[in-house]
Amino acid sequence: MPWASEETLNRIKRSFRTVDVYKSPHFARISVENTHDITNVLKHLKDVEDFRYFIDFHVIDFPKEKERFLGQYILVNPYNFERLVVKVWFKSNKLPTAKNIFAGAKWAEREAYDMFGVEFEGHEDVKRMFMWEDYKHFPLRKDFPLGGIPEQRLPSLTELIEGNTLPPSHDYELMHTYVPTIQDIEKTEKSRITKRGQLVLNWGPLHPGTHGTMWFLFDLEGEHIIQTDVILGQLHRGMEKIAENLHYFQFLPYTDRMDYLSAVCSELSYVQSVEKLANIEVPLKAKYIRTMFAELQRINSHLLWLGTGALDLGALTVFLYAFREREKIMDLIEGNAGFRLTSAFLRIGGVHYDLAKGTLEVAKHFVKDFYSKLKEYNGLLTRNRIWLKRTKDVGIITQEDVYQYGLTGPVARGSGISYDMRKIDPYAAYDLVDFDIPVGDVGDVYDRYLVRMEEMYQSAKIVEQCIEALEKMPPNEPYVNKKHPVVIPPKEDVFNDLEDMVKSFRIVVHGENIPKGEIYSSGENPRGELGFYIHSIGKSSPYRLRIRSCSFYNLSVFPKVIEKHTISDAVALLGSIDPVVGETDR
């Protein structure tokens, strides 16, 4: 269901002679051969073929090809939810800009410039996205080393203070990559906004109101905001570059550090993409376990949203009530995976361990209690006149905004667009359980609040159904598909069986033998659609791993919507968009 059909592709090929189409069960693309045609192709796709929902734009670096960079657009038809990838080669590192067709391409092109150094005709004063203004290099190019370019001497404190010459640990290095100074940062700040109002207020980068280290610049006229800009990059860790140097199973702990509030959901999206690429079938018990934990994490993440959103708007007690429920969920996850937050519970081919004894009873106890707690939160906030005054008709996001900027998740569903990956392309056990998707009407902060509260209720229902199914399963059902050549077998087999030990050796040392190909697959994070594009050339690490992060595109609508609102509305709007900086910056 998610990929474009043969007829659509043939229709496009008939309209444009110079495109090349390709379709497989997990991928559908058209390649534009002339770089100048790309604007016409995109306009045709948007207006005539109805591919008007912009999902992603990214760049791949092929240093040995004639033209070095390949750009890719991912578009979706919001009426029948078909997805299409459009590829085009850059011409001498330049490409016509797409920001007049899809407004969300502006941020994507800034990131492409920042990471690859490519230019866009029509998007002249492109600024860097994550790095500071004067940074000289382009990190995601293939000739930039993984450890950066060490050009600054950064001694440790024991050297400076005690004059100790013994290195503190065996991997200590004296030379470090360049660290930005205060002057660099001030230059970045000044170049982002030209003052038109009375006062430029720095909201961030360290502020209890922004959900993480984001830096906003507000141009104020009294209490009203005239224009604003966001400076990101304080938490940029270069995960896409790291992925090009690790095996597929080693990248798993990194995926739960992106959206650290709902780690299992992010891991699920990643593991799904690798499994689709390598054609791995997951056993039924693992599917149910994955679904149950993903929905528990969804409740976890929405509770944190509720707590911090209410805290920002002044209701101080809801924060602690939400955290009381979160403690319970984290106890459940800790008992099964070992860690509360960054759990690394899933593995390619299944889950890491079977369920611990007692999990199902504890989960049943939690769900029974949770319904009454949801009524408490509703009683405190939903019909409270102060809450209504703060959130009704504030920050209205229209359907056109959703299509142009690529908004997904509760932000899109609050505006009336029923885009939920769990129903469009069901993965794990989502086609075996019964649930509804709440959809809003107006698109203001109050609608998004109602959508998320209803989603928590639906998630609790899914968890109940998964518990029922898991209780009925016979014991000793397999939880990992160990017959597949790419999956690492579990520990008991490695100790007792020579073949499995050799297989484990082979996969850990030489990496998995994932076949050549490419895939884009996405899952429904609590914040939106988290997509992974993997381009594999048959080696043990991906050639290019692109993380299509939902918080990044959700945040890009903030500067447009916040104009003419006040600072207090900015707080409410940011809380309802619910970005997580680990995912925005990767």
């Binding site: 207020l201 209890p208 805290l311 708007l313 209701a315 007690t317 009530y321 703060r390 006040t566």
Partner: protein, 337 residues
Amino acid sequence: MNDIIFTGIVIAVKILVVLAVTLGLGAYLTWYERKFAGHLQARLGPTVVGPFGLLQPLADGLKLMTKAPLLPRGIDTKLYYMAIMMALVPAIMLFAVVPFGPSFKILGHEIKPIVANLNIAILYLFAMGSMAAYGTLFAGWASNSKYAFIGSLRKAALIVSYEVVLGFAALSVVLLAGSMNVFDIVDAQIKSGIWYIVYQPISFVLFLFCLLAESGRVPFDIQEAEAELVTGYNVEYGGMKFGIFPLAEWYLNVLALCAIMAVLYFGGWSGPHLFGPFSGFIWFLAKTFGLLFFVLWVHWTLPRYQAKDVVEFAWKYLLPISILNLVGTAFLIYFKG
């Protein structure tokens, strides 16, 4: 001569008692609020320092006083220090017109447990309440910081609007009682046998809102909305200089206004004689602390309003209601006698 010395001693003793009790009580109100907020939020408040955490305010005071005094660059030093005094002094001066109980006799002289028995006590109340605006304005201007500036502007707008409403609300009670002297108001309630809250519920609700606004408590604490302005006008103050602001604004102001509210609407020290000679004092304290409990309860439950909504609320809704209430009361008194 003897009389003057005696009166002087009595006044000095009263001032000392009131100062000591209110400052000590203000410090211990922090303990009370933290414990209350803790249990409301399914957790314990302070428990480690002393039994039940009772020595926590002393530990806090010691910590604040021993912090390194940092002065930011570019401040206006005179206003910076004067702001602290302008915040604290009016809050303490409010206690000069709070009556703690009925008058009693010592050594043949009748003593009223109030520091200054003014005939215009309610007017004095408004004056001291408005002076509280100076503290925040000076602090916000002298801090040389954008956050402090915005916070103090918000608070100035707030105080100006809510003072007017406070005036009209309290005036209805004054009309009923016939005088601005606090003792006369309480005596009028005791004589008629009914507390004024039964006659003036609308005025009570308006006074409650003004109390929450004047002392900067949720739902009206716009000048220190944490998610927007990170403690607002006192963001550049540290150590005990910072400690004075919440003490004066959140605790002393609220305590004094709660006491006045007990006097105006709940009959001061009237109540059945269950506790012997001190029952008046005990009833007064019970009513004040009951109202304080309610104020804290509201603080930790409701969200907060936006700055422009607060001011709009005062001018568009509260002021017409208070004027109508005043006119209605006047008509009722004229026709009912």
